[in-house]
Symmetry: D2
Subunit: 379 residues, 4 copies
Amino acid sequence: MSGIDFLDESSALDRDPDRLIRDVKSSELYLRRKVPVGVLGATGGVGQKLVELLARHPWMEVTCIAASEKSQGIPYKEAVTWRELSPIPEHTAKMQVRAPTPDLPCKIVFSALDSSIAGDVEKAFSEKGYVVISCAKNHRMDENVPMLVPEINMDQLEILKTQKFPNGGMLITKPNCSVIGLCLALRPLQLEFGLEAVHVVTMQSISGAGFPGVPSMSVLDNVIPYIADEEERIERETPKVLGSFQNGKIVFSDMKISAQCTRVPVNEGHLEAVSVKLKNPCKPEDIIRAWREFSPPCVELDLFSSPNPIITYFEENDYPQPKLHKNLQKGMGTAVGRVKKDPILDYKFFVLSNNMVRGAAGGAILTAELLIKQGLVFW
Amino acid sequence: MSGIDFLDESSALDRDPDRLIRDVKSSELYLRRKVPVGVLGATGGVGQKLVELLARHPWMEVTCIAASEKSQGIPYKEAVTWRELSPIPEHTAKMQVRAPTPDLPCKIVFSALDSSIAGDVEKAFSEKGYVVISCAKNHRMDENVPMLVPEINMDQLEILKTQKFPNGGMLITKPNCSVIGLCLALRPLQLEFGLEAVHVVTMQSISGAGFPGVPSMSVLDNVIPYIADEEERIERETPKVLGSFQNGKIVFSDMKISAQCTRVPVNEGHLEAVSVKLKNPCKPEDIIRAWREFSPPCVELDLFSSPNPIITYFEENDYPQPKLHKNLQKGMGTAVGRVKKDPILDYKFFVLSNNMVRGAAGGAILTAELLIKQGLVFW
Amino acid sequence: MSGIDFLDESSALDRDPDRLIRDVKSSELYLRRKVPVGVLGATGGVGQKLVELLARHPWMEVTCIAASEKSQGIPYKEAVTWRELSPIPEHTAKMQVRAPTPDLPCKIVFSALDSSIAGDVEKAFSEKGYVVISCAKNHRMDENVPMLVPEINMDQLEILKTQKFPNGGMLITKPNCSVIGLCLALRPLQLEFGLEAVHVVTMQSISGAGFPGVPSMSVLDNVIPYIADEEERIERETPKVLGSFQNGKIVFSDMKISAQCTRVPVNEGHLEAVSVKLKNPCKPEDIIRAWREFSPPCVELDLFSSPNPIITYFEENDYPQPKLHKNLQKGMGTAVGRVKKDPILDYKFFVLSNNMVRGAAGGAILTAELLIKQGLVFW
Amino acid sequence: MSGIDFLDESSALDRDPDRLIRDVKSSELYLRRKVPVGVLGATGGVGQKLVELLARHPWMEVTCIAASEKSQGIPYKEAVTWRELSPIPEHTAKMQVRAPTPDLPCKIVFSALDSSIAGDVEKAFSEKGYVVISCAKNHRMDENVPMLVPEINMDQLEILKTQKFPNGGMLITKPNCSVIGLCLALRPLQLEFGLEAVHVVTMQSISGAGFPGVPSMSVLDNVIPYIADEEERIERETPKVLGSFQNGKIVFSDMKISAQCTRVPVNEGHLEAVSVKLKNPCKPEDIIRAWREFSPPCVELDLFSSPNPIITYFEENDYPQPKLHKNLQKGMGTAVGRVKKDPILDYKFFVLSNNMVRGAAGGAILTAELLIKQGLVFW
């Protein structure tokens, strides 16, 4: 059991034995067997999206699914109210839904559990040697837990060394759905010009609230200027995502950040109006160039779900839009547009990111791909 | 013929002969005859709202309506596709639609004309002695034309002295629909703490684009991060609305302002996410108090359409909302909520204002009421 | 204490002592005191609408409100998430919410309770002498319980004689929200031409499902071709509503009826596509005339909430519409349009009725007004 | 140049020389060259969908595009406001938009022209030897023009013999978007039980009206019970689609049909509530079986865009839904559900069909595939 190079012998993977990233030896093994993965909370919105995206994944295969008590013991097909456009994957449809206890036949566990139980359950799995990739908020701010966006902060994987779970167990989180698109759009600016302050107003889609989630009576013909704890989450998580690994710990970015969040009658895709103050001066075309040329180290790993390009800047005067760009790069792309001078801070622009794919299931899967590619998953 | 006090002998109207505001002599006259008014562009959305709001107005009566060529010469009822919830007012329904030429039998002219023709037509009416109150953008930034919101800048009426139209003719504008609610929420803060910078992201309803306006294909299940010239308008008009009359001219406010505008699938009501930097420090409760105690001079004039209170601060954690507050104070109120410390500027909050009533027809009518009450309309 | 004639001495009320409708003696009493009424289930959507409509009612006053356990013991204002456009009535806002037990200080009880408990609770109130007017489905099909629409089947009040509750207690229901508008449109046709078959496809608004009701994820950008038990309810209730009182019991109409029900992303107002087969031949203009001239006996009672006209036929080729006509006659009117020959049955047309007002709260209040006017409520 | 068998030597194609369907000789040719096709009206909604669906088509390639005057002479990319989710196909993006005159370098012409000009233009192309497949309504009811749905009425191709256009020119139409899904659901019932009467109420999506099409002010939070000429089209076209080729002409089905049409705030997918009277008695399970076993002759042709299964019957009690099933079988499938006894006619059910794919662009392409496979296109 070991990590693996899916590319070829000359791949640019870092092989420094002092780093957590391991050498690659046994690609033959991979060719025989995909990584067995489990989905916790498989009946919810994010859980369904995980099941759908994993259905034809070349590196992983769903070997078990778990959900809350009322779904346990019956086939997934009967337990779930499937709402994805593509039909429920046959293979998973027949699986018996199990309890989310750490005795599942898999190595990686994707957790789309409700935060009311996610904290303890995820820990229990890690302690039994599972690789836990969580979409829940519970452990995001834990000191030795990375909050990973592969294109941004792959270096946070180093913190895993301090986790000390047995048997290769680990616990990894991804940021909140509204944070991921924001941070992807900010990262090139941070790298090139430095970020002093970020002001964001979000217009978030209803799928972000799960199911049943937002009552139609509340949101049809309306905008709700409030999402519980969301502004706090953005202000809390963004500096960690954009932070760096230094001296054995994750050091947060020192930028100021302010968020106002709203819910809009849109099915999928979070639109965000962003203003930034930069540390170094630049022109609008520099900003656009920074986005277009953004090519972080993870690009060379050629991860299966990686969007290409990572960021798409649109010239059209009324782009990006949830309706038109939610499926950009199969939902993994980040759309940016309307960059303009900001009379108060420096620049303003709009970001669009798919909250269900890039912001949740797809983001978690991309993280798993990174772990596999880096040889951190043993199975 | 002269101005008029609709209240009683002891009214608190300013009678200083040096001010443009005139003494009040002939309330009897008023009791005999309402001010005859005309509506230009009566078939459009704002035009319909004007016709509806004026239908039972105690001080004014619609004596003529005008619209573009294809509607001329037929009864209003046949020319208009009525979209108001209340039935088309009978009196107006039967009126023949006329051309928008300055020979209409009225004294005040409300212009809801398209900006492609509003500029010249409005000027022509003023030059023939009509009191023109315009909802169009054409003359808003003209040096000697007030951009009036009675609760904010009644002093701009002084500039009328410099207009020099014959026979009591004058030309008055109101700000863009997205500017009015914003400025009403800002005014108490400006007065109490001083405004250094204002950052606003708007979520504007489709009625703001008129009819047919926004195609349903464009906006259903979507947010469009662009409204032509809207950001520029907000950045341009706000400093004038919040400016003051000094030494014979309107001096703009020196605050910085930045706007990002979006169109959301909401029928009526513009929601705005606002952040402000103030000149003097204050606590959140001071902000709320400033809104609640806002009582500008025009309140004493007891204008018929004046909301009371002018600004309503809501404690609920998810207010204000277009759906719930668009009819606040019959659509003339300004709803504010969610005031919070802003980590970059000083404070942030949300404003909701009805773009069709407060932001257009109702705002224009309130201005007319101010003129009448101040004795500036002779009929 | 007795019934009352709110009109004048020469009112056309039926005074036949053999009928349940009683003579009117003590209008003085009424002038002193409105009928005290209670609202059960006051925090739900229909409950709120009842509270709002009763706030300024000239004949009744809300003296108590009741709701489920979690709301009991706190002021109504705190227990309710108010969603009406007009502010919560001050008088009611302060009332302590009570348990729905038959010891409330009122005479009439409006029940907007959930059907899971409405059945027993309503019965308990009737047995204690309360006049119960129910919006719930539980007792609608009971043999000795009228399902009342005042303009249609006032004669069903006769069945009350058989109820035998003490102290003037009685139990009255109104039909399902989707049935009321349908039956109001059908009634003139039944009277003039006879009904042989009715085929209806409904497009029902989300408010009909209460709150939280339909998840936004389910209905935004969608139509759901199913509402639990709704088709059965329409097929079951319509013949009773259109039935007649004969030989001491309610005899159902013998027409055939078929319903297909859908939920559409509309806030208020149920639209229905109806086809009818009539017993006697007629022309389209006869149908329209029947609607326009519809003037059932209850019109002479001049009930406070009665719409006038009861049915409005629109000539416009794309009317009626939920958005434009939901507030027709303050939400009590029935809008009809697009009558056309049906190649299979005889005629087809569209009906629009406000499900929250006419179809629920307003309909129940109209029934109460009928009872009061007929002298059936003693207080 | 000749027809072609894409399958293999043993294909079940009919080779009777007396039928229009020709023998297959030169599959080598096909391997060298795809059929060159042009799209007329390429900038509209259906035109875009055609361009998108044809982008990677294995049998056809877009060699030219045409549109109205204002788009001519500039690259397609600049002429079109692309609204498809997938990016504009590169190959087509660069093409110069041409005038819709019969000198285009292609053999098949897909017409998505506006009906104001489609009639003459399509005829002109046919007369110059082009194979015209029209999405416009102009020639649908022409006596010698087939209105083709390959799964239903392949035999109507016989009427082409009577067209007498030179050089293999022909003119073929497809039915209106609301007719196709309806007829596909009806066809198995017609074949097995006979159709006596069909009653349909449609809930049609806004994309059916093109762009800009339905104003958002008209349809947001609303249902509009009218689509110009749509009921007439359904009642007129359905009997022709379900008709048969007899004695050299298309004989219409003799069933009765009644339609009521509405526009709902849904982006894509027409939902229809259908009631049918059958000639022969059957049970609900017979109906379902008829749908599930529906396997018309065209299935054996293995057309590239053919859905499989053609009709999907859903057991779920609230299916089919536009949101969930618009992409069924890549938008070419027909979804049916909720079959129930109808107390007036015999059975009722719901049908869902994608109006842009199956109902327009995809339907036209499927017809082209049929022509190619049958050897009717020479290039």
